[in-house]
Symmetry: C2
Subunit: 210 residues, 2 copies
Amino acid sequence: MDKKKNISMAVIKRLPKYQRYLREMLNNDIDRISSKELSEKIGFTASQIRQDLNCFGDFGQQGYGYNVADLYKEICNILGLTKQYKTIIIGAGNIGQAIANYTNFQKMNFDLVGIFDTNPKLCGLKINDIEIRDIDLLGEFLKENNVDIAIICVPSRSAQGICDMVVKGGIKGIWNFAPIDLSIPKEVIVENVHLSESLLTLSCLMNGAI
Amino acid sequence: MDKKKNISMAVIKRLPKYQRYLREMLNNDIDRISSKELSEKIGFTASQIRQDLNCFGDFGQQGYGYNVADLYKEICNILGLTKQYKTIIIGAGNIGQAIANYTNFQKMNFDLVGIFDTNPKLCGLKINDIEIRDIDLLGEFLKENNVDIAIICVPSRSAQGICDMVVKGGIKGIWNFAPIDLSIPKEVIVENVHLSESLLTLSCLMNGAI
């Protein structure tokens, strides 16, 4: 088990992609695959794939390849997809609404249980059958519901304040769409989606200055 | 100049963050900063910062630090922010609408000139004063307008077809929100925002199995 503790962030970031490709293979009734074939599909080198998957146990068999169903199941396990997560969205603006409407996340066991905003015009409206509540009710809501993940979709000036509130309320993970780096205690996990940074990466690569 | 060609993707991915922090410093009238101070703000090590910024020229001066305005200007240059980009959004669903409504991108010189969808109920409606056009008009639109970037916000089953259309139409960059890996000619740049993968990274880290 100690081996597992040393998985790098780079490997972790690649796992969802393995999961996506393995799911497609299962849907296409492919039951085994070599690292070479997987490499052709997924775009990582065969040696990288062997190295990555080796981190989690002994899945490959020389001359046989990987058992797709077993490997898929184990990666889902590692990704925490066998669990159910209660999530709330804070900020029912453009991005918050888009996430709330994206039902695929519900299918992935991320159960949206609340949406919060400061805008009185939004409070009381429903997205996907979930009422938008006033942010003043957030503290109480967190006390009464065992929420796992807060999805922060507020402007950057409000994001740290909201973050402090949800951390105080016992949240274990934050999916942060606000374009700032949040200060959090180290037991809370943050995953950022910084859209502007992604767009700038695109323009940087298009620019050809480097 | 040859030195510039060898910048790794890891450095490129860090540049937007440097740009964001430097902009904040400029707004706060900070005109110079040492790599140590910058390190405390941005969270990279001072030696990493010196190494990163050294890739682009000789910005730091021993005992003086970095001139914030000069460094900001150069990073904006490298990121291609001195240029104007014509962008279109394909897919006016949740994410497409959120992006269309997010006016910050316009401020960053990404000029939204068209939105396309297949849904007849959406065609003719406007988001941010831009009419949603029928996807059948996309080819003609690309011929008549010199569009730089296509923002793909369609479901994964349609994404490769749309990608082929915009590539044929002369698009130079694709910002892809569809959860698939697009096949593209190597002269076209793709930057993916795979939201499900980001959410899975969060649950993986929360899961603690690794």
